[in-house]
């Protein structure tokens, strides 16, 4: 009888977990491939000018980004080499700024709406013409707090 008892005491054999890393890897790879980092893929050249009297942009307040610059090489054949505006993920016309700001406002909690700040990320080689047009549109949209986002450094490097 003793022989039979001994066999029962062993219980279930442990589950083989050797394949667990493979399964997790498979999941990880799936998510890596399927995830698109939609943090504004830039379609334009965007080298910011430098300034040294900068203030940090307050992250507590909502920030909308407007990018301006000349289309990067992949898009140059289609959109030319003149500086263009990019809102979210696509090229936009000056007239689309007012709807864009209203859309950004609609997505915010009501108490934050007056604090919306527009960050202008403008390529240093662009002209003031387009920037002036954008500023005029922002006035129309009544989004008056703006920030010329720049790198930190001495202005003398801007001349090149």
């Amino acid at each position: 009888m003793a022989k039979f008892n001994k066999k029962k005491d062993g219980g279930l054999p442990p589950v083989n977990t050797a394949a667990l890393p493979d399964i997790v890897f498979m999941l990880l790879f799936f998510f890596m491939v399927a995830t698109v980092m939609r943090e504004n893929t830039l379609k334009i050249a965007n080298i910011l000018p430098l300034a040294n009297q900068v203030e940090k942009l307050d992250k507590k307040n909502p920030i909308s980004y407007i990018y301006i610059g000349k289309p990067s090489d992949n898009y140059a054949s289609k959109f030319g080499t003149e500086a263009r505006i990019q809102l979210n993920d696509d090229f936009a016309d000056v007239s689309e700024i007012v709807p864009f700001i209203n859309q950004e406002r609609a997505a915010l909690r009501e108490e934050l709406v007056p604090f919306i700040t527009v960050s202008l990320k403008v390529d240093k080689k662009s002209n003031m013409g387009i920037v002036g047009d954008v500023k005029q549109e922002l006035r129309k949209a009544n989004a008056l707090k703006i920030n010329y986002t720049t790198g930190t450094g001495d202005v003398s490097a801007n001349a090149e």
Binding site: L20, P21, K56, T117, N127, Y148, V155
Partner: protein, 203 residues
């Protein structure tokens, strides 16, 4: 036949998996470097009211032409000289009402920085953005320099010695700073009121 306990899952490789995920997110995350020159645009004014008349001597005209050349008060100027010229204009104290100014009191230049002196900035459509930002930066620097000087004067009286304006603002925003924030805010607001950034852009 006793009830058998469920066998334990081997969690030895959990750490490896966690590390892998951590490294993945570390690599894909970009820390945005968002700092810049903050400006407030003027609201669109539909009313037909006449703008207040500002005397020519109280306006410091800065213009940038299509070739990024800088014209200050009708003289060609290098960008490195702009800061000093702006400070001289703001600090002039022509009517003697500004108690903290150390300027020349030239009757042909601005009256006082508190409510008279205005800097007017004009640019053309072909002006490059880099030049525009450089000019904006120098003008902000001129204001900051005057404010720093004033902060050292007031700060010593109000209990914030050896602290310039930039440091005061940084301390005010710093959560870990243990000093008296309401008092510091009063000092900051007083300086902002005494030396306001009056920068107008010509459309």
């Amino acid at each position: 036949m006793a009830k058998r306990a469920a066998p334990e899952v081997n969690a030895g490789s959990m750490a490896d998996i966690a590390f892998l995920l951590l490294i993945f997110f570390l690599v894909t995350t970009t820390i945005p470097k968002d700092s810049g020159i903050s400006r407030k645009l003027p609201p669109i004014d539909d009313s037909e009211t006449e703008p207040p008349i500002i005397r020519q001597k109280n306006i410091f005209t800065v213009s940038l032409n299509n070739n990024d050349q800088l014209l200050v008060e009708d003289n060609l100027m290098e960008i490195k000289d702009l800061r000093a010229a702006a400070i001289e204009f703001l600090d002039n104290n022509g009517d003697g009402t500004c108690s903290f100014c150390k300027g020349k009191r030239d009757p042909a230049s601005s009256d006082n920085p508190t409510d008279k002196a205005v800097i007017s900035l004009k640019n053309e459509r072909q002006t490059s953005y880099a030049a525009y930002i450089s000019v904006q930066n120098e003008l902000v620097a001129a204001y900051n320099e005057l404010r720093n000087r004033r902060a050292l004067e007031i700060g010593a009286q109000k209990g914030f010695p050896n602290m310039n304006f930039i440091e005061m603002q940084a301390k005010h925003d710093d959560v870990r700073w243990g000093g008296n924030k309401t008092k510091l805010k009063e000092v900051i607001e007083q300086i902002q009121l005494e030396i306001p950034q009056k920068l107008s852009e010509v459309q």
